[in-house]
Amino acid sequence: MKISAAIIVFTTGIALSSPSLAAASQKDMQIAGRVLGFVSTPVTGDVKFGIVYDPANAGSNKEEQDLVALLGAGLKVGNVNFIPVPVPIDKLDTTASDVLFLTGGLGADGAKVGAAAKAKKEICITADIAATQAGNCALSIQSEPKVQITVNKAAADASGVSFSAAFKMMITEI
């Protein structure tokens, strides 16, 4: 384990060019939709896409607004049709959704999303890999320059979300 930790420090030190925070794009949404086809019980049809944001956080607020505009009345990707549902972070418990999407930069407040995903047994998706590394969101996606998917196994297990074995071989689990 010590060897792994040393290598992580070394390699991530070199890999500083990777963006740690990025706003979700249309390509991210397409990846999010397709990922749901690899969940052990695939999600299909109309999906309430709960965009979790902090109204007091300008970056988060902007990402939420951009996503709502992007998804419009619905965005069909693969076998799902994402219906955007804005979810202010203080209304997580009272807003109905099928999938949670965590906007970036919520920091410690992201833990509330992790708790909500666990309580609701819903998958949480984000473009903010730090949220997944912190265990606040089960799955993070990066679409540029190449597609990278990271799953926090503990967070996914806590949310009752599991993936096909083949999918897990192709992504990074932490």
């Binding site: 060897i3 390699t11 083949a166 932490i174």
Partner: protein, 674 residues
């Protein structure tokens, strides 16, 4: 042994049939490619991976690449891949080699369709014209450069080509193509997929080609007449059934029938070669708490015939049974393990043998992929093969007296193979691979067991003999690869540098000098020494959203032989000079609305090939040449495409290998998608 083999096979088929809950979910190549934006593969480790993550120098040829090539054969597609040498000896006779040590009927390249071996074990080669697959049903062709025996076993010594077809469960492939062209060619194929229920898919495919052979006037008339009407046809049935979301059963049947002229081995004369093949395959897979369980069982039968004018006419029947089982699972979040077992029974009966030769092979393998960090992974795979030989029938009086059936039956070969790969992605744009591998080439059944007394017009009969004392040939490979995405020009740079040494090179008696024994001319299979190669590849490939695509690559290989034959009499073995040192592949294409136009070219440096003219191996210098193919396609709508392809456009004919000159060709095709 036959009883044991049959019981094992039938027990496996029965297990697959009655216990669906025990078996698993296959890889959905289509959805995975859409998700990751690049092809996925299982040909590097047995585990599904993004192609860019694979611990192997791998190139994937997509269905779009295949369509835009305008090619009518798989070797014609591979011809323009960096590091691949395709030798065309006649219109339907092609040999594919990876990274040098090229030879006719290359035995060092394992070819599979959906993981099922289509490599023929009788002589150790691939009869490309007899492959039971239509180009329109291929999702991708996975090319692994370098040894891959730790996953695939014997004969993945210099590389692997795994042809992956569309999955009838997930993909609705319905198409029909009609082709016609000069020489005059006529061909076509039809593919239909049906889904009787939501969890069942069935794909049928049928196709064939025929045409006039290229001009054979350059061939020795005494060894003719030469067949002038090559043809090939094949049929395939592929069924998949998902009894539960986590389980999948598969059943596959194929058959092919072909006839063409070509050499029957390195330096051999041009013969008429006929092939009739059939295969049955059953499999199951299940995503369970124990991991991804897979089991496959298949039977291949190849009935081959070889005719050399009035001089020689022989036939053989090669049957293999294979049972493969594996479990693929993760330990924690960092480790992926694959444990595999394989049983293989291989038998050959035919005119080149007194009665029959065969072997049973038992193998176990383990693969461990350790993802140390998101940027760094280490893969180690090892496999151990235990081969037990068996033989029936009498021996020719000129054979060495020590050769008995008991000696054959007590002969075993035990060989380990391994693949190790360190993959480091320091940034999202860069990938570095350090690779180390040991591949195994088993002696062919003919090399083990030939026993053929021939009267080929010589004053005395000639005995071509096999040997039980052959060693497997081994290939060690050390390699460093570096790939970089260059988003500024929508391109990817790929580079590789490698060193390879091949020990105990194998040759049948048919390609060796003839000696004198007991009033008979005699030639016996042997290990003929070793060779070293070093080389590299550098290539740039790009796709621009505007519709422009291009590729340019250079490959270099230099080989040095240390052979133990050929000092007193000529042989066709001379890897030093028989490998083209340099190759440049290039292509450019553009899609504009309904039109797509592509040009592919290759320059290859000179090399020496060999002709067998009345039992004398005669070197033939193949001058450096440029070959150029072009295709223009017009999509009338999403259902109808008309295309015109020109092949070998630079000259009216060129000599690409021993055999006959390759002629310029034009082909028109009409494809319907429904």
């Amino acid at each position: 042994m036959k009883l044991l083999r049959d019981r094992l096979l039938y027990a496996t088929i029965l297990a697959v049939a009655i216990a669906p809950s025990a078996f698993a979910q296959a890889v959905d190549y289509g959805q995975s490619e859409l998700l990751f934006g690049e092809p996925v593969t299982t040909s590097a480790t047995g585990s599904p991976q993004k192609a860019s993550d694979a611990p192997a120098d791998m190139q994937i040829i997509t269905a779009d690449d295949i369509r835009r090539s305008g090619a009518t054969t798989i070797p014609d597609i591979l011809k323009f891949v960096s590091g691949i040498d395709v030798r065309t000896s006649a219109s339907q006779s092609q040999t594919v080699s990876i990274r040098g040590s090229s030879q006719g009927f290359n035995p060092r390249l394992l070819v599979l369709i959906n993981g099922r071996q289509v490599y023929l074990d009788d002589y150790g080669y691939t009869a490309w014209q007899a492959l039971p697959v239509q180009l329109d049903e291929i999702r991708q062709i996975e090319v692994v450069k370098g040894p891959a025996s730790a996953l695939f076993g014997f004969n993945a010594a210099s590389g692997v080509i795994n042809i992956i077809t569309y999955d009838p469960l997930f993909d609705s492939t319905n198409a029909a193509t009609l082709r016609g062209g000069t020489q005059p060619q006529l061909g076509g194929d039809a593919i239909a997929t049906i889904h009787p229920t939501d969890n069942t898919g069935l794909r049928l495919s049928v196709g064939g080609n025929q045409g006039r052979e290229f001009n054979t006037n350059s061939l020795p008339p005494l060894q003719g007449p030469y067949d002038q009407t090559p043809y090939s046809s094949s049929f395939g049935l592929d069924g998949r059934y998902k009894p539960t979301p986590n389980t999948e059963l598969t059943a596959e049947f194929t058959s092919s029938d072909s006839r063409n002229i070509g050499p029957l081995g390195q330096g051999d004369s041009i013969d008429t070669l006929g092939y009739r093949t059939t295969s049955f395959k059953f499999g199951g897979a299940a995503d369970t708490n124990l991991g991804l369980l897979n089991i496959d069982a298949y039977r291949n039968e190849a009935n081959d015939s070889y005719t050399e004018g009035q001089i020689l006419s022989v036939a053989d029947k090669n049957v293999i049974y294979v049972v493969q089982a594996s479990d693929l699972f993760k330990v924690g979040t960092e480790n992926t393990i694959r444990v595999g077992l394989e049983y293989r029974s291989n038998s050959l009966q035919g005119d080149f043998l007194a009665q029959s030769i065969g072997y049973d092979d038992y193998a176990g393998s383990v693969m461990w992929n350790w993802k140390l960090t998101p940027q760094l992974s280490l893969t180690n795979a090892v496999r151990l093969d235990y081969l037990a030989l068996s033989r029936t029938g009498s021996f020719d009086p000129a054979s060495p007296p020590a050769y008995t059936n008991a000696l054959y039956d007590n002969t075993t070969i035990i060989q380990p193979s391994f693949n190790s790969g360190l993959v480091y992605e320091p940034t999202d744009l860069d990938t570095i691979r350090l690779l180390l591998a040991r591949g195994i080439q088993a002696p062919s059944l003919i090399e083990f067991g030939a026993q053929y007394r021939a009267n080929l017009g010589a004053p005395l009969p000639i005995l071509y003999g096999g040997s039980p004392n052959l060693n497997a040939s081994t290939t060690n490979n050390v390699e460093i690869d570096y790939d970089r995405s260059i988003p500024e020009i929508e391109s990817t740079l790929r580079t590789a540098i490698y060193y390879q040494n091949t020990q105990a090179i194998l040759s049948s008696g048919f390609s060796l000098p003839i000696s004198f024994s007991n009033f008979t001319l005699y030639s016996q299979s042997q290990n003929i020494g070793h060779s070293h190669s070093y080389g590299g590849e550098i290539g740039l490939q790009g796709y621009d959203p505007s519709g422009l695509r291009w590729n340019l690559s250079y490959s270099l290989v230099s080989t040095k032989d240390y052979l133990t034959v050929g000092t007193l009499a000529p042989t066709p073995w001379d890897f030093d000079h028989a490998t083209p040192t340099s190759m440049i592949d290039f292509g450019i294409g553009y899609t504009w609305d309904k039109v797509e136009a592509d040009i592919q070219g290759k320059w290859q440096s000179s090399y020496v090939d060999y002709n067998d003219i009345l039992l004398v191996y005669t070197p033939l210098k193949i001058s450096d040449f440029v070959t150029l193919n072009a295709r223009v396609g017009y999509n009338f709508n999403e259902h109808v495409t008309l295309a015109l392809t020109g092949q070998q456009l630079v000259n009216s004919s060129i000599q690409e290998a021993a055999g006959i000159p390759i002629e310029r060709r034009a082909i028109a095709s009409l494809t319907l998608h429904f």
